[in-house]
Symmetry: C2
Subunit: 223 residues, 2 copies
């Protein structure tokens, strides 16, 4: 049984997929095919095997199927293996730079402690309906109003062909932040209003002076 699990990790293409998923974000089969550098059908077979060995779980959403690591235990094993590989038997894998920990982009939405704090605030204010707890969110009436107030067309956002709002496990915080079309729309607004600016050579986001005034205080976010 153990051998079967190790063998599942021990194939280059599958290992690439697994390490790509280590940031906690769920990815589609096609995205992972690109990452692993194999065809779509091959990727599907690999993902099937990873699911069978309980290393990844899949959640169907429309015509997309999102794959993610099954839990922290899996991530722990992968981390252990990379320790063996790099020979850094020492202290810990490279720390996340502070700039990246505070705020960064995760694809098209906001991650980092600011992203997580924002997420918590949305839930606390009951703008987000957490539903059954499967990581899929929806806006409450109060939420519709609040997002409209900062300039987000929730109708158009909802109409996009992608998940509307969902949790994405934050890699540095190990807690969820807001992803999906709504998360992307929020980041767009934050950038448009110059609350944050994007670093040119990394995924870091910096809070501007205006952001400190209009964003941090408005959403009671501590970073």
């Amino acid at each position: 049984m153990v051998a079967r699990i190790a063998a599942a990790i021990g194939e280059p293409a599958r290992a690439r997929m697994l390490f790509c998923l280590m940031d906690g974000c769920a990815r589609t089969s096609t995205e992972l095919a690109v990452v692993a550098d194999v065809g779509a059908s091959t990727a599907s077979a690999h993902l099937g095997r990873l699911a069978e060995t309980r290393l990844v779980k899949v959640s169907a959403q429309g015509k997309h199927r999102y794959y993610s690591l099954v839990g922290a235990d899996v991530a722990k094993v992968l981390e252990g293996l990379s320790v063996l590989a790099t020979g850094t038997a020492g202290p810990r894998v490279s720390r996340v730079p502070n700039r990246l920990r505070i705020a960064r982009t995760c694809y098209d939405h906001m991650a980092g402690s600011a992203g997580v704090a924002l997420h918590d605030r949305f839930v606390e204010q009951a703008w987000l309906d957490v539903g059954t707890g499967d990581g899929t969110y929806d806006l409450t009436a109060a939420g519709e109003e609040a997002f409209a107030a900062i300039g987000i067309d929730t109708g158009a956002t909802r109409a996009q062909r992608r998940r509307f709002a969902c949790a994405c496990l934050d890699w540095s915080e190990r807690r969820p932040h807001l992803a999906g079309a709504l998360g992307a729309a929020f980041l767009k607004v934050a950038l448009a209003r110059k609350w944050m600016i994007q670093d040119l050579d990394s995924r870091a986001l910096s809070v501007t002076a205006r952001g400190r005034q209009e964003f941090l205080s408005r959403f009671a976010v501590q970073v």
Copy 2:
């Protein structure tokens, strides 16, 4: 690189070998062939691959070659994998029963906290010469005398076709105890003098009343 390591673990015969080595004891190629249920030549090939991927290390000793895990990091990964396999994401792998933790046989020598305490005592009294620290021991002049005093023929022990004295990492204590011909000779004496008796249906050793008097006090061992 990670995939190569995982693949090395991910073969049933190799996995059996690795898990057998998790107790910290070094084993010969032939012993591991039996454990893995493959032929000698196949085992040799497997061990070669495990050595190549730095999962096991080998120490040649006469015509024997002793294989052991390369370090605690490797054991940690194996443990992590078995957590994934058994689904016990919970607290910890089954605890060692107390009887086994105090004293037990490890092949033909004494292990457990008593074995480790004894080992420490021997080193502390400078009976054992730890040499270069590679785990191979020898007796000092004082040690020769002390072992002879309890009835061990050190000459005959040394003449056996096996390692004379060496460290064996204790599985429950995670610290070394005395193995090799000398360790076996000591256990033989301890049993002959009825300091300890062997459990019939396990590897546990029980300290007798006589043992408490003559053994524990003599070697200042706390168990």
